[in-house]
């Protein structure tokens, strides 16, 4: 889950096609699966490049599956 300052318009949102956006007060909250850490870093780089302000970053644990079920959220253990 990523919280950004301000409401994002269609252009900025198109930079995060895999995420679902919700407006929450003055902020935008993006949620969605990130395949691995490098996907996360790519996303943070995008936020930085677009001059957006990151205010919160949180990992939401999968509710029903076990942590190793291949949901993509467990850290890469290679």
């Amino acid at each position: 889950m990523i919280r950004l300052d301000g409401h994002l318009g269609p252009t900025a949102l198109s930079a995060f096609p895999t995420m679902v956006a919700q407006q929450h007060g003055p902020d935008t909250i993006l949620t969605g699966p990130l395949q691995d850490r490098s996907a996360l870093w790519a996303m943070l780089a995008e936020i930085e490049a677009l001059g957006l302000e990151l205010t919160e970053l949180r990992r939401i644990c999968p509710k029903t599956e076990s942590p190793t079920s291949g949901d993509g959220l467990s850290p890469d253990r290679s």
Binding site: L4, D5, G6, H7, L8, G9, P10, T11, A12, S14, A15, Q23, P26, T28, E48, A49, L50, G51, L52, E53
Partner: protein, 893 residues
């Protein structure tokens, strides 16, 4: 950067790293307070400006550069720049320009930039400039290479007094500057300080021609939180706006992210055709008018770009002539997103157009990139295959490999062009089986190729086949293939240029195959021809490949010719930044090998270290034999026979991987056997000798080895018997050093038999054979001191050599050292003097290197020069000489 790593090709502009041109930018806002802060901070050695995108870092630096009393060297790091070479070249160019008062200089162009000397070069560049210099490095966060950052760190901590560095970055740079921080020599500017104040906001609006009420200006300032990019965007939108106050009201009342809102507004303020142009040109990192016209389907792009540049800060020209432009990064990223969102169907076509333009202008790799982005990978493969030969000859293997990774997996099975490109790339990385498999795919697809492309493909395949056979060590096969190709029936390829390039690589493959199989005379001729042909065609990579082998092939003339040619090859490699690639290894290893033979063990070790670094990614077995053999001799010279044996056994293993008999094979086997003998293991030596192929057994080298084993077994008579045909010249001897060894063994055997005068004659003969190339190593390895003591310095024809060898072996100083004549030494350079002052201390070389922030190699070089200039034999004698010459007067030991 190491061996096979990826290198970006040079960007499609004549100057790949445009110098920032501080004076070119008009309409910059004077932020007096901030500039005064910067003026104050640059009294420190390093200033770091760390703040997010759009904070106004670059604008501040440009404005400061114009007004500063410093001479300014301005370097902008390009996006995702992984190549340290290009970065340092840009730094040198910028310093050169600063030194010459702003005239642009191409200092880096043809010069050496190896990792060890680059810092020295940059420092020297700084000292050339009179008065205070500010080295500005903008967008440092784009510099990806940890190695380059490490070099930058070394530079920063050793900046000479009049130089100040200003670094700007979106993130805190990963530089360890704690020493400078402790000394209060690091200044910082952060986002907080870069924010516009309320009065600066008003000033910005005023110079932008925007009239706004007091309250609205305050609201704008609050809403943007003084964020520079936000304010600039707002100013652009507000200029000429029918109702600026309402704009601010809507903007302040809304919740949209500041940057996006304002960029959208700014874009909307442009006419629709300008909007279209901005969107369509956003997918190239830089453009000139012609390229922009092509992408945007118009004819006045250059005028629009120039107007936009004058009107705002979001289009920047990157050259002084203002013909190349780029967008502010923040704008470019938004434009690309907007293009994909609003005109998704046009994107592939735009990439195709860009590809066409790049291909027409000779930027094949850029063209391939855009074709891939358009999803046209078969076209991309075709283009790549058509230029494969030329790209390979220009040393672009790394770029080819990284492009190939962007093709769909498994695509090469159905595409002969792609298979061919893969084959060349695998070959360059030493993966021979993979290369062979791809080559077979390419060959299978030949029949379906249209005739005009077929000839080209055949040439590329034939060339790859030659290289493959050579790498597998099937030297006879290579020679035969080249002969077959050269026969009149084979015909010349229709394309003359291709034919010439092909002839060049065939000469190289032929020469290398001849060299490794011991036909040194022919090898020398063919490699010279190949190098000359490559030079005329300006194929530096091919020329280097030929020259790097030419040294080894010239050893049959003399060591000095061989070394001279190796040094030429290394210099050529350094000029192009290729000195860490596998193709330079034979030259580096030959320099190591010859140094070791001449008893210059430390120098040999240094060359060998560079050679190992060059083959880190890809060691071909033929080179492996040469490198391991040299390493074995080095250890033997250092008096470590056990380690020597290990290296020699690795040389044997490499030899087993070479298809045909390697020219060094007899030498390797002889060294293994005689090292066993020296280690007191004659039985192992005998077992080893018994297992060797019969053809090798009759060489002079193997006779020498067998006699050494006999001597170790205590059978001096048998040793002498074995040597008979070597000494009378009837045995084949590959190199004169075998003769030196043979005379030494004979001498030792005679001593053993108590025949003093025969021993003395043998020692004299050994000296005579060693003299031309100064072959000291055999004397060191065979512990020949006792034998040499039979020779009096007064009645030998080789007095100087005798004295030198005796000193080297730690014998009594003869009092007539050839060094003593050095009455007034050559003056030491400032860097040598700096190193000299550490010699009386207990610091080791690596410790000295750390103290001076230079590499160990640099320290080694300085120490070697110091020794030679002072005529010293070691550290203590250098200190002694230096004291006598009062060179150490200023420091206590």
């Amino acid at each position: 950067m190491s061996g096979g790593a990826i290198r970006r090709e040079v960007e499609p502009i004549e100057s790949p790293w445009p110098l920032g041109d501080p004076s070119a930018k008009q309409g910059l806002l004077e932020r007096a307070e901030l500039q005064a802060t910067l003026d104050h901070l640059v009294t420190k050695r390093v200033t770091i400006i760390s703040a997010p995108a759009g904070s106004g870092k670059t604008s501040l630096l440009r404005a400061w550069a114009v007004s500063s009393a410093h001479r300014v060297a301005f370097v902008s790091v390009e996006r995702d720049q992984p190549d340290g070479q290009l970065f340092w070249r840009a730094v040198l160019d910028a310093l050169g320009a600063a030194a010459s008062g702003g005239r642009r200089q191409k200092a880096g162009g043809g010069s050496q930039l190896d990792a060890d000397s680059v810092i020295d070069r940059v420092l020297a560049g700084m000292l050339e400039t009179a008065g205070p210099v500010a080295l500005i490095i903008d967008d440092l966060h784009e510099l990806g290479s940890a190695e380059t950052l490490g070099q930058l760190e070394r530079l920063l901590v050793s900046l000479p007094r009049p130089v100040h560095a200003i670094l700007s970055s979106r993130r805190d740079p990963r530089l360890r500057l704690h020493r400078l921080r402790l000394a209060d020599e690091v200044g910082e500017v952060r986002a907080r300080q870069l924010r516009f104040t309320e009065s600066e906001t008003r000033e910005l609006l005023r110079v932008s021609g925007v009239a706004l009420s007091e309250e609205c200006a305050a609201a704008l300032w609050q809403r943007t939180e003084g964020w520079a990019a936000g304010l600039r965007l707002a100013a652009i939108s507000l200029a000429g706006h029918p109702d600026p106050d309402r704009f601010v009201e809507e903007f302040s009342g809304g919740d949209r992210a500041v940057g996006e809102y304002l960029l959208a507004e700014m874009l909307e303020r442009q006419s629709s055709d300008v909007q279209g142009m901005l969107l369509r040109t956003s997918l190239v990192p830089r453009m000139n008018g012609e390229l922009a016209d092509l992408l945007a389907d118009r004819s006045d792009s250059e005028r629009i770009l120039l107007e936009l540049e004058e009107a705002n800060a979001f289009v920047v020209s990157v050259d002084r002539e203002r013909t190349w432009f780029r967008y502010h990064q923040l704008l470019a990223d938004f434009l690309r997103l907007e293009l994909r969102r609003t005109l998704p169907d046009e994107v592939p076509e735009l990439h195709r157009r860009a590809a066409g333009w790049f291909a027409d202008h000779g930027h094949v790799l850029d063209a391939v990139k855009h074709l891939l982005a358009a999803g046209d990978w078969p076209e991309a493969a075709k283009l790549l295959a058509d230029h494969l030969f030329a790209l390979t000859l220009d040393g672009q293997q790394g770029a080819i490999a990284s492009l190939l990774r962007s093709f769909p997996a498994g695509a090469s099975a159905g595409d002969p062009d792609l298979a061919l490109a893969h084959a060349a790339s695998e070959l360059a990385q030493g993966r021979l089986d993979e290369a062979a498999a791809h080559l077979a795919l390419a060959e299978a697809g030949l029949d379906s190729a249209p005739p005009e492309r077929r000839r080209r493909a055949e040439t590329s395949i034939a060339s790859s086949r030659l290289a493959l056979e050579r790498r597998r060590g099937r030297f006879a096969e290579v020679i035969e293939q080249v002969e077959r190709l050269g026969s009149p029936g084979a015909g010349e390829p229709a394309d003359i240029a291709l034919g010439t390039d092909f002839r060049g690589t065939a000469l190289m493959d032929l020469g290398i195959a001849e060299m490794w199989s011991g036909r040194l005379g022919q090898a020398e001729r063919h490699l010279s021809q190949g190098a000359e042909l490559a030079r005329r065609r300006e194929r530096a990579y091919l020329e280097l490949a030929c020259r790097a082998h030419l040294g080894f092939a010239s050893q049959h003339r003399s060591f000095s010719t061989a070394r001279e040619r190796c040094l030429e090859a290394v210099a050529l490699a350094e000029r192009h930044g290729w000195d860490d690639r596998p193709l330079v290894a034979p030259a580096l290893a030959t320099l190591a090998d010859t140094s070791i033979w001449m008893g210059e063990l430390d120098e040999g070790a240094r060359w060998l270290q560079r050679a190992w670094k060059a083959v880190e990614q890809d060691l071909d077995p033929a080179n492996g034999v040469l490198l391991h053999l040299a390493a074995g001799k080095l250890q033997a010279g250092y008096g470590k026979p056990q380690r020597s044996l290990e290296e020699l056994q690795l040389a044997e293993e490499s030899q087993a991987l070479v298809g045909d008999e390697h020219v060094l094979a007899p030498q390797v086997s002889a060294w293994v056997a005689s090292t066993h003998a020296r280690l007191g293991q004659p039985e192992q030596a005998r077992t080893f000798l018994a297992g060797l192929p019969a053809a090798r057994a009759d060489t002079g080298e193997m006779r020498g080895a067998r006699s050494a084993v006999s001597l170790a077994e205590g059978d001096a008579a048998a040793a002498l018997e074995e040597l008979k045909t070597v000494l009378d010249g009837t045995s084949t001897v590959i190199h004169p050093f075998t003769l030196v060894e043979a005379h030494l063994i004979a001498g030792l055997a005679q001593l053993e038999l108590g025949r003093h005068s025969e021993a003395q004659a043998a020692a004299e003969a050994a000296l005579a054979a060693a003299e031309p190339d100064r072959l000291m190593l055999p004397f060191m390895v065979m512990d020949a001191l006792a034998l040499l003591e039979t020779v009096s310095p007064h009645d030998t024809a080789h007095r100087a050599l005798l004295i030198e060898i005796r000193e080297l072996l730690g014998g009594a100083p003869s009092g007539t050292s050839h060094h003593e004549w050095v009455a007034s030494p050559e003056p030491l350079s400032p860097s040598e003097l700096r190193v000299l002052r550490y010699l009386p201390t207990n610091l080791t070389r690596p410790e000295i290197a750390r103290e001076l922030y230079v590499s160990v190699n640099t320290v080694n070089t300085h120490i070697r020069n110091i020794y030679s200039k002072l005529g010293a034999r070691g550290r203590s004698s250098a200190v002694e000489h230096a004291r006598r010459l009062k060179l150490l007067a200023n420091r206590a030991g």
